[in-house]
Symmetry: C2
Subunit: 316 residues, 2 copies
């Protein structure tokens, strides 16, 4: 269908999100959504723009719907919170094909359904460039922020790193996607770690948590904060076989690629070593990849590492 | 300053929004903002795009900052709620002049300061076109939605209509802005009716409330809802002298212009006539402009009126 007015938008929302939230007193399309909450709400917003965050050359409309929401869910997971609902801003050229929106909404609704998310409203506008802005909220739970780590705390990861960057390279260069199925999937429909994050939230001694969206190189300094540094130990045994295979093909260092590659949405955190065994019992997926140290800066396998990574302002 | 990274963005936020919210446990720049609330939160989001919602030809960066937030505050006012904080998404071409952002943030911060709003976070991205997406929240208060009016209820307005559309015409045609100062101001830095809305919230018998953003022609059907209609009575005495003067110059009908013109952010509501005197005592600014009727559709001074108005999908 053509998306030409607020009324069209509400029709699409009603078709793909037929269930209203229990207890939601108002219809959609009002000036505001009324969101139930107890003491506080986790709120986050992310942009997802054509030519920056995705390319129409290899993202299907379904993938765009899926990933535009996935990147937001990941921010809620990064707080060990539980995602509950979202608002959707769409802007797009008037000549966007009619078939685009039903597929976009299908991808959006499939992922929303998996996490029982409610779509409460939004805005739309014509634009020169296709773009999506989603604002998501969740109930806080354990509320683990980024900056609580102390020297001596162990750094851990849940999820792959470098896999999405490998998929992006494969897609950009037009390589055979069948040779790198996990990488391509990681880039188009990233895996989320909401449940692992919630288990981390119930695990003692977790001092910091975030999702790795811009790559370890950029995100690790954000986790450790000013006045401390990170000693990162990453080996080939920590990486997915496709990351190793692709780096070998390109004559590049797989570890370096995994260190700088963004958009895996893995969880990166810090744990007081006293609680390591309990963490391993509660979240067996954690992999220890180093520790927080007194000396500022990030060292990768002993050598100082530049912080340049993957930044949606600088390049895509 | 150049806005080139998340860190630059946080610097600007810290400079123009130096006060953190009391009780806010986390710094900005975390994955989510943690928003305190009691039982529920009013949430709304609006886009504000170059070439659609504003033109760089006659909006200063300060005006863009001001109005990008104003349109969002108005959605909170439209619920008789109290605005509390917001998230800011910015997307812009890499060649945006360095002087743009400090002025943008000054306009944003001035209006935010007037309403004691907190900026909790956001996202930024490069883009082909300058655009802003703001998500705002507020504490609900009386919670008056759009669709509660019944036949027999009186329609009322708080604020001017047609004034912003007049200002837009003056600016677009390059007419002498000094001849239409209120119109131009209404378009660039719209007046908001937050306090009037809160008084409406405490007034008995108010059955529906919204802000007029797309013009009465489009918004009135949204207020009365399906199965009822509106009998609107608008005379020249209801309009600002500049609206009358400009329409006269153009040989157009001022009433028609005011009926279709958008972006005044006046409050439009319905009141049970039994409570009219109390409403007048509590909110003396209200003007009665018609009533809700059984017959579907909108009549303007007795004649059926088309619903075509001002729509950011169709034109600007």
């Amino acid at each position: 269908m053509k998306l030409e007015s607020e009324e069209n938008f509400l029709e699409l929302v009603d078709r793909y999100f037929p269930e209203r939230r229990r207890g939601e007193p108002w219809g959609r399309g009002d000036d505001c959504a009324l969101v139930p909450c107890s003491n506080s709400l986790c709120l986050s917003t992310d942009l997802f723009l054509e030519g920056v965050h995705f390319s129409l050359a290899y993202f299907s409309p379904y993938d765009i719907g899926y990933k535009s929401l996935a990147v937001n869910i990941s921010d809620i997971a990064a707080m060990a919170a539980t995602p509950e609902g979202f608002l959707l801003n769409l802007f797009f050229p008037p000549d966007t094909p009619e078939g685009f929106w039903p597929e976009y909404f299908r991808g959006l609704a499939d992922l929303a359904g998996e996490h029982e998310l409610y779509l409460a409203g939004g805005d739309l506008s014509r634009s020169g460039q296709l773009g999506i802005g989603i604002t998501i909220w969740g109930s806080p739970g354990a509320c683990i922020s980024r900056g609580g780590g102390r020297p001596g705390d162990l750094l851990f990861l849940v999820g792959e790193i470098g896999l999405s960057a490998t998929g992006l390279e494969v897609l950009r260069r037009g390589e055979k996607t069948a040779d790198f199925p996990d990488s391509v999937a990681a880039h188009l429909r990233p895996r989320l770690y909401v449940h692992q994050a919630q288990r981390l939230g119930s695990s003692p001694g977790i001092t910091a948590l975030m999702d790795v969206s811009d790559g370890l190189a950029m995100d690790l300094p954000r986790l450790v904060g000013p006045g401390t540094g990170a000693d990162l130990r990453l080996g080939e045994e920590d990486l997915h076989p496709e990351v190793l295979a692709h780096a070998r093909q390109q004559g590049a260092s797989a570890v370096e690629l995994a260190f700088r590659g963004g958009e895996d949405y893995a969880l990166l955190g810090a744990v007081d070593p006293f609680f390591l065994q309990e963490l391993r019992d509660i979240v067996p997926e954690v992999r220890i990849v180093g520790e927080i140290v007194h000396e500022e800066g990030v060292r990768l396998n002993g050598d100082p590492a530049g912080i340049q990574g993957f930044d949606h302002m600088r390049g895509g």
